[in-house]
Amino acid sequence: MVSPIKSLATLGVAILVTTGLARAGEITVYTAYEEDEIKAYVQGFNKANPDVKVNVLRLSTGDLAARIVAEAENPKHDVIWGFAVTNMVDPRILNSLEAYKPKDADKLDAKFRDAQDRWVATTGYMAAFCVNTEVLKAKNLPMPTSWQDLLKPVYKGEVVMPNPASSGTGYLQIVALLQGLGEEKGWKYLKDLDANINQYIKSGSKPCRSARAGEFAIGLSYEFVAIKSIAEGFPIKMVIPSEGAGYELEANGLVKTAKNKADAKKFLDWSVSTQAVELYSAYKGIVTIPGGKVSEEAQKAGLPANVAPILFKMDFEASARNRDAILTRWKKDIER
């Protein structure tokens, strides 16, 4: 007879072992993609590769970055997937990646790939205003269409944006303005805009959620949350500023210490495949690989089929490198 204690102990060890280690046929993926798109993409991948089980851990960009750096001594993941390039190019993360060029990655423009093939950016998101039409009506305000419009005194106290010190989206927005308008004009714009800002909210999607809840008229956020809010029935209009919008790319990379490199590579190959592109376009404002169709939700929200002309030209390397200096200046000159 097996004693109950012994069988319990065996069970315990079994649980410890199965949850602790990745096995052949399984990969562990760290991502900052959102829950519903993850589901769709993984299903798509499994249609093509039914024998690979994908274990996904989803965290917000900042938390995930902190976690990856903290786990550096003993990484648990095989793949970093859908992760902001600004964070990806941080040396501590970049150096944890192994050069791997996915099959057919050549079809991507060189600017969407690392020169040493450590990452490939397949998707992205861009800055957008969430404007609450009900609040506009109630307060009798015009619809803003550009960054310049936001400086108009009528919007005083009705604009919210993310705090760039705590939110990646917030940093993206100010760095895009600084790179798009140039240092000097950029800082002057931020200073002028400050007069109309009600508060610098400490999260990136929150300004849009606050606007959709009717707390403020205009929330500076990104296109995904605007499209989502419109689809959910909130009285929100998405405005892509006419001068151009900053954007962030989401990239994938193979981890040097991956325990299952063969399957991880299959996953990375799939992520630049035509099938993947079709799925991306259902969720993403920016898809770097041509061939997708803008989703119905995004079309309804007013996202143009070709976003390339409305994007600021951005230098991710520089924005990662100058982060400390820019934030210090922002804190000194603008933060309240």
Binding site: L16, D36, K39, D63, A65, E71, F216, S229
Partner: protein, 576 residues
């Protein structure tokens, strides 16, 4: 007051000696040696746990804070201290925490007083309401406050007001709500055990109710009050969730950690702020000494339990006060539950069940189940460990007791995010048992236990302090060992408290996220993380619905516990 005890000290010859060879002066009997051994054993076990899971991770954090290049130094500290606005932010933190402490302790004291010293009706209901913020996911509280007090909130819209919730008062309100239940838990414990005799004596001596309150009640709960003040202050100063969602431009120190770590991947500077935040905890180590002046045990071998008598006027006043405090707590949670049943709050208020039926999260229910398992483990481990630690602190006045107390009180001063990351740094690359433990539900439970250890320890300590030493002495006179006393006297007396400590660990584990977010793995998702995923994916109503499910599970678990308690309650025991 201490007359019976002093008559039985081992120094008095002949008292309580067993047979056998004449012992040396004072101590040295077999029973005493066994006691000391048992105490040492428990003490060292608890100490080992605290050393591994609190001291070691925090040493790692400290080493990060002094890491400069390839060597060590205090450059990071000078860099943080000279950063723009750093001292303004310190000022914010101190102001918020002090305000929260005063408001919370006063409200919690009134509430606990009503629950324990009045004969007001429906106490069970008020007890339940007080606990709501402990097991409501933080999203619920944030949403609830905005729905109620926001610029477009119900109150401003209904009354045409312009209450500004974002900023100082928003943070204070949210923190008071969050800290209130934890202070109530402590103060109920402090107030519920009482001896009727001093009150009778005071009445005989002609003291009025006010005099009795200040001369008998307050001194009796001094430890509880100080402990509550310490707890609330440290929790408020380390909280970054509330300032994040409702603080607007008001930034506190804990935000600074988040900005450095999650915003800029700068662990060194984040660690500096984390170490600075430990300072208020130093005050806590003095509580014991302050409280010991004029403190007396409330229940001795001769005490008569204080049973509140009916007094319509007083009971009515207490009921009114408790109701006034309970209403905002209920409203904040209630409005989110309501919102989870409508289409698009506040624009389309049609009733719908879609938020429950169309759950977009994968593994949503699995995560709920994982959370229940983690929370049960945390409750079990937490109760045993917190009770053992409190017992060691009470019995061992030597270094072991002091170190256990200090380490046990430290977690309240550690922001969850710091603890979680410290666990990654300390245990992720470790071998042996830790490698097996890492990535398991048990590891998450352990993290939760130590995250909330101070609350458990302080509550258990408060309860233990009210039991007179004369029980121990009586018990050892009768030949009982420390273990016998513990089993037959101490544990039965503090059992109601232990149950509420277990419930507290369970509830917090169901919803906390700040620490374990760095420890969950794809196979060990938790319910609170699912709420975050849903909310991040843009679906607030789904997140609200899932939060409501979590609260329902906690309530169901509580109901089961009550039933079990009823079944096992031996007749005649008070407090059952």
């Amino acid at each position: 007051m201490t007359a019976p005890a002093s008559a039985m000290t081992p120094a008095s010859p002949g008292a309580g000696r067993g047979p056998g060879p004449a012992p040396g002066p004072g101590r040295g009997t077999g029973a005493l040696d066994g006691d000391r051994l048992f105490l040492m054993l428990v003490g060292l076990t608890v100490l080992a746990g605290l050393a591994i899971f609190i001291a070691w991770p925090m040493i790692v954090v400290f080493l990060k804070s002094v890491a400069v290049g390839s060597g060590y130094g205090f450059d990071n500290y000078t860099k943080v201290f000279s950063a723009p606005k750093f001292w303004t932010i310190v000022g914010h933190s101190l102001t918020v925490s002090a305000t929260v402490t005063v408001i919370t302790v006063v409200l919690a004291f009134i509430y606990a007083y009503a629950l324990t010293r009045s004969a007001m009706p429906m106490k069970w209901l008020f007890r339940g309401i007080a606990l709501l913020p402990v097991f409501a996911p933080s999203l619920v509280q944030a949403l609830g406050l905005v729905f109620l007090f926001g610029r477009n909130g119900i109150i401003n819209r209904t009354f045409g007001l312009d209450i500004k919730i974002y900023g100082f008062w928003g943070v204070v309100t949210a923190d008071v709500l969050y800290c209130f239940p934890q202070a109530v838990l402590l103060l109920v414990t402090a107030l519920s055990v009482a001896d009727a005799r001093p009150y009778e004596a005071a009445t005989v001596l002609g003291a009025g109710p006010v005099r009795k309150f200040f001369d008998v009640t307050l001194p009796g709960v001094k430890f509880g009050l100080l402990a509550a003040a310490f707890l609330v202050f440290t929790i408020a100063i380390t909280d970054f969730g509330n300032p994040m969602v409702i603080g607007g431009d008001y930034t506190v120190l804990a935000n600074e950690i988040y900005n450095q770590v999650s915003g800029q991947m700068n662990f060194q500077l984040g660690s500096v702020v984390a170490i600075v935040l430990l300072l208020p905890a130093l005050f806590a180590f003095q509580i014991e000494r302050i409280a010991n002046r004029r403190q007396f045990a409330l229940v001795g071998d001769r005490s008569v339990p204080l049973v509140p008598r009916r007094a319509p006027l007083f009971d009515g006043a207490m009921l009114a006060a408790a109701t006034l405090i309970a209403i905002p707590i209920l409203a904040v949670v209630g409005i989110v539950i309501y919102a989870s049943f409508v289409k698009t709050w506040p624009y389309n208020m049609t009733f719908t069940l879609n938020n429950y039926t169309q759950n977009t999260a994968q593994n949503g229910l699995q995560s709920l189940w994982n959370s229940v398992v983690v929370s049960l483990m945390a409750a079990g481990i937490g109760v045993v460990l917190a009770a053992a630690a409190a017992w060691v602190v009470a019995k061992d006045k030597g270094p072991v007791g002091r170190v256990v107390n200090a380490l046990g009180l430290l977690p309240a001063a550690i922001p969850g995010m710091v603890l979680g990351l410290a666990y990654v740094f300390a245990f992720n690359a470790a071998g042996g048992v830790m490698a097996l433990l890492y990535d398991t539900l048990l590891m998450l439970a352990i993290c939760n236990v130590f995250h909330y250890f101070s609350q458990g320890l302080l509550t258990a300590s408060t309860s233990l302090r009210q039991i007179s030493k004369s029980f121990d002495e009586a018990s050892s006179c009768l030949g009982g060992s420390a273990f016998d006393t513990l089993r037959h006297v101490t544990v039965p007396l503090v059992l109601p408290t232990l149950i509420s400590v277990g419930v507290f660990f369970f509830m917090r584990s169901m919803v906390t996220l700040s620490a374990i977010i760095f420890l969950i793995s794809p196979g060990t998702g938790l319910a609170a993380a699912t709420v975050m995923l849903l909310d991040d994916a843009g679906s607030t109503t789904h997140a609200a619905a899932f939060s409501t499910l979590i609260m329902a599970v906690v309530l169901a678990a509580l109901a089961i516990l009550k039933l079990v308690e009823r079944l096992f309650a031996r007749p005649g025991r008070p407090g059952a």
